[in-house]
Amino acid sequence: MAARAPAIVLWLLLLALCGVQIANSRFVADLSSFLPAAPTEQQRLLVDQLRDGAISRVMLVGISGGDAGARADTSRALAARLRQDPRFASVANGAPGDFGRERDIVLAQRYVLSPNVTPQRFEVEGLRAAIAETLDLLASPAGLVLKSLVARDPTGETLAVAEALRRAENPNAVEGVWATPDGSEAVLVMRTRAAGSDTEAQAAAWAALEATYRELAAGKALTLVVTGPGVFSAKARAMIEHDVQRLALVSLAIVVTVLLLVYRSALAIALGLLPVLSGGIVGIAAVSLGFGVVHGITLGFGTTLIGEAVDYSIYLFVQSEHAGDENWVKRFWPTIRLGVLTSIAGFSALVFSGLPGLAQLGVYSITGLVVAAAVTRFVLPQLLPAGFRVRDVSGLGRVLVRVAATAARARWIVPALAAAAIVVLATHRATLWEPQISALNPIVDSDRQADVRLRASLGASDARHMIAVHGATVEESLAAAEKVTATLDGLVGAGRLAGYESPSRYLPSQATQQARRESLPGAAVLRERLRQALAGSPLRAERLEPFITDVEAARSSPPLTRESLAGTAFEQAIEGMLFRDPQGRWTAMIGLRPDAGSRIDLPAVAGAIAAAGVGSAVLIDLKAEIDNLYSGYFERALAMSAAGLGVIVLLLAGALRSPARVLRVMAPLVAGVLVVAAWHALAGTRLSLLHLIALLLVIAIGSNYALFFDRAATVQDHNAARTLASLALANFTTVASFGALSLSSIPVLHAIGSTVAVGAFITLAFAAMLSGAGIQFAHGHNQNAHDPPDGR
């Protein structure tokens, strides 16, 4: 009784502090937490791009159904409305918009923007050739718009700039707006102001889009589909929220129902859930402290804690002789403590997986288990009212003992199944592992296909291959980009690359701007050269005074800067291609465009980069890079799982001090893991990083059961039936809560849930069969407990 107050006071204080921490926690749901914390600089750039870059801000909209006119009208109306919405930085649907400012910039800055401006072009010969080209164009229908510009721009620089900035491949258009190639769906592209990782803002933008659409399309038989990273994040978050609530409720309901059936006491259930709730609260607080934010998936994973942590109170209630039974602590605590330690070893693999999201799950679970066990050991016994007793479950136990004894006679099944599992795994080894990180993505296939379809119909740069160059300043990075694009131009000319998009097209480096300005001759010189160049031409030099005036002005015009593009479509275009990374360096991204339907000639591009001699230039294959990143983490998870397994074996060896006993504990666990893995293989499920970790959890959780059987095999337990009943009950709650997790539509949760639920059951069954404990349990009921030194 003397120790009673401090333990309870300490416990309540801890809960209060954790409550405060949780109240101040930030909860997030974006899936980038499950992107690896990239170790290399290149990968960090990549992850940053996916999280905050231009790619992450794109929203694609498809409108199908109805007739083409209705789709086009809705597309126009939607674009017009959303352009007024501050949440969207740009809305494009292919209809000609008002690009007055952009046109003015192109016209005014044509001599620094045009890639054709060189000193030669303004010599007599160059002028003659350029003007002849323009006159040819005047003969064409395309010349109609050009006519009014000839006097100011006879060398056609405005057109050259417009050509360079124009989308290479115009998307298909139906009724004047972009559409899929078959014309059945109108397509819009929007860019949000908020970064893709800002799920809150993405969800708000998406909701605004949907609401506006509903208003505009009311009464029309049209269907809207919206895709893009931000939308997917928002959807994933909604799924997570929905699943977390549902799973927690399902799991809790199952556990409470079972305990109610067994205990027949509301008080017992309330007390039994105390360790679980304490563990959950402290676990969340620990994650919040350690990571700054708590991920929704972590909360979802919390349901598994209900199943695992409730075990401790089950052991206490069912195995205790009477309230305040000091013997329980003496007899069972060392076994439970060892089980907690092996579980910690298992969950540690999550902590060190390198994926922040999984590390959260690990920290949460470890903290939760330790707290739940400690509360069961130190707090709960003192809270039990005098004479507290759950219903005697010895009857159930005796039934189980008979079942176990019968099953033990068929113990050969365990090695037979294990051997069969090895054969299955060996024959499926080629398709055993999941190499794609997308397996972790909760986005449903139909959404993914819609995204691919809309992207394809825009024919934009494939957003897969890009070249990144760095510089300490904007100027340095732009200059580096220009060096690279100069060699890329060679590839484009040779037909080995369809094109590229570079920020230097919108904003040439100051050096290039200066060089172009210096290419321009003075008024008197230009006038004389024009006179020579235009001898015999239908265009007389005297008519080109506006040209001479413009060139003179361009020679002394102030430089074009990021600031001078503010508020234009050009600024938005640059924003995604030229940005400052967290280290303060400037990065320019050059997007590569393959020919329609073909792949980028990567060796040729790599050669061009090498020829450019830009040290910082890196060719990034977004998809390959992500897969590499993932496979790196897969290997790491494999190593971590192996290490976790090693720690578990060492813990057992240290506690049990007998190789034979370690073997006896490990045998059902290893057999169980093999069978579960084989079951996945047969079901056609490829094992991902998460399955791997889940298998380790099977070992960690299964070891709790195996340890009890090991204890029963070495100790004469005078109430073995009751112990077996408590194990069955504990196992049932674990299977139920992980089973609930397997109902989740989120791959992360489903993989862990299904693997652990099946694995936990199989390991218990195997442990019972292998231990031959049936006999031990059956004959031990009239002798006193006599403990061997298991775990000090």
Binding site: P96, L138, S140, V150, A151, E163, E175, P538
Partner: protein, 186 residues
Amino acid sequence: MKRLLLLAAFAAAQAPAADWNIPTLFAELARARPERAAFVEKKYISILDRPVESSGELAFTPPDRMEKVTLKPKPERVTVDRETVTLERNGKRQSLRLRENPAVAVLVESVRGTLAGDLAALSRTYSIALAGDRAAWRITLRPLDPSLGTLVERVEVAGAQARVGIVEIFQADGDRSVMALSPLAR
């Protein structure tokens, strides 16, 4: 070619016969088969001392497909298919929709509508006047929409029987283009 021009000019001076009018002319044009013609186009632009000239082939496939392939001075292809105008030049393609580009539409429709004999469509966009007789006629199209009148003042199409011979476009700024067509064997 010259003879055709002369004929047309001569015919224009005459009042159309009573039993021959705009609807009968267009009905005849509408019965025409797919056609291919060589064209020579001259553009008179105020800033230039001489017209710029281009030539090539023009093909029309009823009811609404027209293809203009320029061979000189630079190869180029303009295809008009229903609502879409596609321009191919220097290996690049560019498409636009007539509905969004009324200035282009007013030019395209005058030629295509006449070739197709689609009086209903033409009357929606232009006021139509006819001069001459069946052997040498000239129709004058003026955009009904005054905002288009600031670009194209009028389009004159001259021909004989069911065949279009000359398309002349008068722009509001005084520039004009003359396209002469001569049938090619199919």
